[in-house]
């Protein structure tokens, strides 16, 4: 891959992360829960005490650069402050417990929906106007219009409380003891099915719609006519000529879409009470736990930026025009 392409993408990601940190810093000063406000709200504090604490916390220094520099430094060291709600537990520790369940849910959901969405979309686009296209596009459009929790609620109603196939909430059965790791995994898997189905269904609609129009655009390219002229079977033309080209713009779109997936995953987690960053966000929101909210924002933003960087690299690998 071209070194310049790589360098440019790395620099862009770095600048974006710095901008996120700056945004987070500024928001923190404007928040109702900012250190200044918390101090001032306590009417029994003497002016002298306030000054003393301000000096101790460095709040008497100018906002920029001194406070910013110390903020960036502590952020870089992984110090994101302390949770209000969890009685002074470091935010990093709170986030650490909740990060992996969310990543697992989004990661697996993305994998399933990319495979299914691209397959459905490319077949529908290839047979544009046909029966499969009508059904596929209709279902995709309806799924695309459904917020994740709207998908999740009927799933609980039908498969959990109705048929009793899967548990309604959580990641593991509360209070259960497991004779072996396998049992633990099975229990975990049973809890995972419905949230994962929700996230995947929520994503499939959008991916298949975009893939369909990408295939339709690709279908009119000259190299598709060349491939047809070679007498290759229809399926081979689709799989080996149309699909690899139509997929290229999808890489970028899937990456850009990650920000929205995070939003959807948050609501899906709430429906299933999945112990990830989404439920954490909602709990922090209702208890006005601002340090945790900011930590979530910082963590998710940086993750999304890094995922975007990864997508750019994948794009570079897939498209020979960029690779060289």
């Amino acid at each position: 891959m071209g070194g310049r392409y790589l360098g440019r993408k790395l620099a862009q990601a770095l600048v974006t992360i710095l901008a996120i940190i700056l945004l987070n810093f500024l928001l923190f000063r404007m928040m109702p829960g900012s250190p200044e406000r918390v101090l001032l709200r306590n009417q029994y504090l003497t002016q002298q005490k306030i000054e003393q604490v301000r000096a101790e916390w460095g709040l008497d220094k100018p906002l920029i650069p001194d406070q910013l520099v110390s903020y960036v430094r502590s952020t870089a060291q992984g110090d994101l402050g302390y949770s209000f709600f969890f009685r002074g537990t470091p935010v990093t520790e709170v986030l650490g417990q909740r990060f992996w369940p969310t990543i697992l849910l989004i990661g697996l959901g993305e994998m399933i929906s990319i495979v299914v969405g691209l397959a459905v979309g490319s077949y529908a686009g290839w047979r544009r106007g046909g029966f499969a296209d009508r059904i596929g596009s209709g279902v995709s459009l309806v799924l695309y219009s459904m917020p994740y929790f709207v998908i999740g609620m009927p799933l609980i109603l039908i498969f959990a409380s109705g048929l009793g196939l899967f548990p309604t909430s959580g990641m593991l059965t509360v209070g259960a003891t497991y004779p072996s790791l396998i049992d633990r995994l099975v229990d975990f898997g049973r809890h995972l099915v419905l949230p994962l189905a929700t996230v995947s269904l929520g994503l499939i609609g959008g991916y298949s719609i975009i893939m369909r129009s990408s295939i339709i655009e690709t279908r009119s390219e000259d190299y598709i006519t060349t491939a047809r002229a070679k007498g290759l079977t229809d399926g081979r033309v689709l799989r080996h000529h149309a699909f690899p080209n139509a997929m290229l713009p999808m890489v970028t779109i899937i990456a850009i879409n990650l920000g929205y997936v995070v939003a959807g995953a948050i609501t899906a987690e709430v429906v299933f009470n999945w112990p990830g960053l989404g439920t954490l966000t909602v709990d922090a929101l209702s208890s006005r736990d601002y340090p945790v909210l900011q930590g979530v924002f910082l963590l998710l933003s940086v993750t999304v930026v890094l995922a975007n960087l990864a997508a750019d690299l994948v794009y570079g690998l897939l498209d020979p025009r960029i690779r060289s």
Binding site: T16, A19, I20, L27, M30, M31, P32, G33, L141, V142, Y144, S145, M146, P147, F149, V150, G152, M153, P154, I156, L157, A160, S161, G162, T168, S169, E217, I256, L258, G259, Y260, V262, A263, G264, I266, T267, V270, V271, T281, V282, L285, S286, R288, Y290, L293, Q294, V296, F297, L300, S301, V304, V305, N308
Partner: protein, 322 residues
């Protein structure tokens, strides 16, 4: 030829031109209506939207005044019956009543959020595309930043900040502060896509104007933007507004669902939040969440259908591709 040309007074020429222009516009409008009419998906979307618009404009005509805890007419979590066609919630309120009133709240939040989104997006897009150079690259960097960011989480963090700025008692067009916060939060976090689209259209119009320089020569930038750029992007803005409306209703529903809504003025998302909070899905109380959920899906779907149809007809790029 010696016949003298009858002297036409300039005002008559002007009024003739004006009449001609109106004729052209009327013809354009007729052509547009015909093309839209030939899109069954767009027409279906439009019909759904009209039904919800009527509900939103005058909910009390259909289901009477909004029920509160004190005026609730049923008992807790009644399934659908003749008295309560869609059943009741855990406070005994009639769900048909709540859902129809929810239309007004969801749609008006969606409408105002769309206004802000489109205003910010179009402004940034036109300025960026027209001014170009440094301004363009800075604005586009900002746009990309907002495109990548998980804006939903940003919206959650921004909500208390904005509530703080506008004050808890603020009210606009009878809309309470909590709802205004949602409007503003959606507006400031979702303009980036619009800005991108409007910018690229502005750029291509500007390119065309270089070719067509004579017509533009001697006009100031304000005049050019008003007379040449704006009329050419307004179609796109219309199409983009409709699509943005769908996203705005979607986002509003999600934000209300996770607790940013107003329980005293419940939108569909807020009803869904209450349903989730009362454990309706686990209790099998499908009538609690099904009506608002179906409404949300129908409205988002309808806006998407109309928006796509408009985009195909009005957007020069997609129009050519067909």
């Amino acid at each position: 030829m010696t016949a003298s040309v009858p002297a036409t007074p300039p005002s008559a020429v002007a009024s003739g031109l004006r009449a001609e222009r109106w004729r052209l516009r009327a013809r354009g409008l007729r052509a547009f209506v015909r093309r839209f009419g030939s899109r069954p998906d767009g027409v279906l979307g439009l019909v759904i939207l009209l039904i919800f618009a009527v509900q939103a404009l005058a909910p009390q005509l259909f289901v009477g005044p909004f029920q509160t805890v004190t005026t609730a007419t049923g008992s807790a979590l009644e399934p659908p019956s003749a008295a309560h066609l869609l059943g009741t919630d855990e406070l005994g309120r009639d769900l048909l009543n709540m859902t129809v009133h929810g239309a007004r709240i969801s749609m008006s939040i969606g409408f105002m959020a769309t206004l802000i989104t489109i205003f910010v997006g179009a402004l940034i897009g036109v300025v960026s595309g027209f001014v170009g150079g440094r301004v363009d690259s800075i604005l586009m960097r900002l746009t990309d930043f907002f495109l990548v960011l998980p804006t939903f989480v940003l919206a959650i963090i921004l909500a208390p900040v904005i509530l703080d700025i506008i004050g808890v008692d603020a009210e606009l067009f009878g809309m309470r502060a909590t709802l205004l916060v949602i409007v503003v939060v959606i507006g400031v976090t979702s303009w980036a896509t619009t800005a991108r689209i409007i910018r690229s259209q502005t750029l291509s119009i500007r390119e065309r104007m270089f070719v067509d320089r004579a017509r533009v020569i001697g006009s100031g930038p304000g005049h050019i933007m008003r007379r040449h750029i704006f009329p050419n992007v307004v179609n796109l803005i219309v199409a983009q507004s409709v699509i943005t409306f769908a996203t705005a209703v979607f986002t509003e529903t999600s934000l209300s669902f996770i607790g940013l809504g107003d329980p005293f003025a419940p939108s569909w998302g807020q009803i869904l939040d209450s349903a989730q909070g009362s454990g309706a899905p686990g209790l099998g109380a499908w009538w609690y969440f099904a009506p608002p959920a179906i409404c949300v899906v129908l409205v988002v779907l309808a806006f998407t259908l109309v928006g796509n149809a408009l985009d195909d007809i009005l957007n020069p790029k997609t129009a050519i591709r067909r």
